[in-house]
């Protein structure tokens, strides 16, 4: 398959470029760590916060909100950093579907790695007993994948329309809210150690949203790139 070969080559290129500069990775990691630290300091200004009743709920939701903003910032760059001439060069040597697919896979890998690191840092500052550690971890990986698929397509649209941050937020938040709701629900169930089979319905919907988004970006991107 030509498409698969091109996708793998472009993916390799993305990873090598990132490996050489390590800009996106370090930048977002620093962003996450400083956000977590700001939250840590601010919440600890209130004595008795960790013993309070709402702590587990805040713990779960705060993590997802930090991840949401970190991934918007990480993925908004994916089309911004490419110069116009370089994009034109890609389109002349590769199929547009290979380009969007490689970007999506690359962002998924990057966000998965970052989410795992973020979870470790977060748990260091905000200790909280999680009932089903493995399932929570799986939920975080699902979250990273869903954020990447949605934001990659939206950043492609936003980059064509003047590339401002406002537009990225306006376009992506209505799409990401259902994803966030499902993720909070699944991860809360994992935190409380509820039987895994009860969350399969929510994970099914999450996967269905991902498939819809990937399918529509594969269909629509070839129309989008041409100016």
């Amino acid at each position: 398959m030509k498409l698969v070969g091109q996708t793998i080559e472009l993916l390799k290129k993305e990873i090598i470029l990132e490996w050489r500069s390590k800009y996106a990775f370090n930048g977002i990691l620093l962003y996450i760590v400083s956000t977590v630290f700001v939250c840590y300091i601010s919440f600890n200004l209130n004595p008795g916060f960790k013993e309070s009743q709402g702590y587990p709920i805040v713990w779960n939701i705060l993590f997802w909100i930090i991840m949401l903003f970190a991934s918007v910032n990480a993925i908004a760059k994916s089309f911004l950093q490419e110069s116009k001439a370089r994009l034109l060069y890609y389109y002349s040597i590769a199929h547009p579907q290979a380009i969007i697919l490689s970007k999506t896979i690359y962002n998924t890998l990057l966000m998965s790695l970052l989410s795992v690191l973020a979870l470790l840092v977060y748990k260091l500052f905000f200790p909280n007993p999680v009932g089903d550690e493995v399932f929570y971890f799986v939920a975080v990986l699902f979250g990273a994948m869903s954020f990447s698929t949605v934001f990659t397509m939206i950043s492609a649209i936003a980059s064509k329309a003047g590339n401002n941050g406002t537009l990225m937020a306006i376009l992506s938040f209505p799409v990401i809210i259902p994803v966030i709701l499902l993720l909070v629900r699944v991860s809360k169930a994992a935190m409380d150690g509820i039987d895994r089979s009860l969350s399969f319905g929510n994970i099914g919907v999450l996967l269905a949203i991902n498939i819809i988004v990937i399918a529509s970006s594969l269909i629509l991107f070839p129309y989008l790139w041409r100016d």
């Binding site: 537009l167 209505p174 269909i219 129309y223």
Partner: protein, 224 residues
């Protein structure tokens, strides 16, 4: 395209809407706890959403057609259908909120169905903002067509799928009986189904008038 210039379906829409207005308030309805006479809201609330889905579907079809052919008229149809859809979206929200006030107790009671609908509303507002952010006509048409096609399945998931998975108070969601199962009888069906068709036709009519105005403006501004 001849269809939009014909008269018979517009007359049909008006006659049927008057029929549902009169019959909706005069015909008998089942006596049910809590609902009582508010069940008549079904005749006005649900058809708003049917009308909205109709014009949004037309909008997506013409967005797809625009991407295939690049004809400017198709973009005008898509945007005017979306505008009309947003209008009916607001009407659907308002009629739902009025009903919720008298059965659930609050205009907005943080119900999953209401929240999902509000998010879907933001989705289509984002479509209009996206259109305004691009100056170049063809680029605007293309990018907003792409976002429109992208937004439609998300809207369906938001309104039709997600509320069904949680404890919504809305009829038909969260294990509540939908209309047509327990709380509906044939007296209601003879009003409700014509109302679906009538309001859908009304929405299409509004969209076509807006489209025709836009088309005249577009032709007037075109460079000859």
């Amino acid at each position: 395209m001849k269809f939009i210039y014909q008269t018979w379906w517009k007359v049909l829409a008006v006659v049927m809407i008057f029929y549902t207005l009169v019959a909706g308030f005069l015909l008998g309805v089942p006596r049910l706890e809590i609902l009582h006479e508010t069940i008549r809201n079904t005749y006005f609330h649900v058809p708003m959403w049917i009308a909205m889905f109709t014009v949004f579907t037309i909008s997506v079809i013409y967005s797809i057609k625009y991407l295939q052919t690049g004809k400017e008229e198709y973009d005008l149809i898509a945007v005017e259908a979306a505008n009309t859809g947003i209008f009916f979206f607001v009407l659907g929200l308002i009629t739902g909120m009025l009903w919720a006030r008298y059965t659930w107790g609050e205009y907005w009671s943080n119900d999953p169905k209401q929240n999902s609908a509000a998010i879907a509303f933001l989705l289509y507002c984002a479509y209009l903002v996206l259109r305004n952010s691009i100056d170049e006509e063809q680029k605007r048409a293309k990018i907003s067509a792409i976002y429109n096609i992208f937004a439609f399945p998300v809207m369906i998931v938001l309104i039709m799928v997600l509320p069904r998975m949680t404890d919504s108070l809305h009829p038909g969601n969260g294990g509540n009986p939908a209309f047509g199962k327990l709380d509906m009888d044939n007296r209601m069906r003879v009003v409700l189904y014509p109302a679906f068709i009538a309001w859908a036709l009304m929405a299409v009519w509004i969209a076509t008038i807006r489209y025709r105005i836009r088309l005249i403006e577009y032709k007037k501004n075109a460079i000859n």
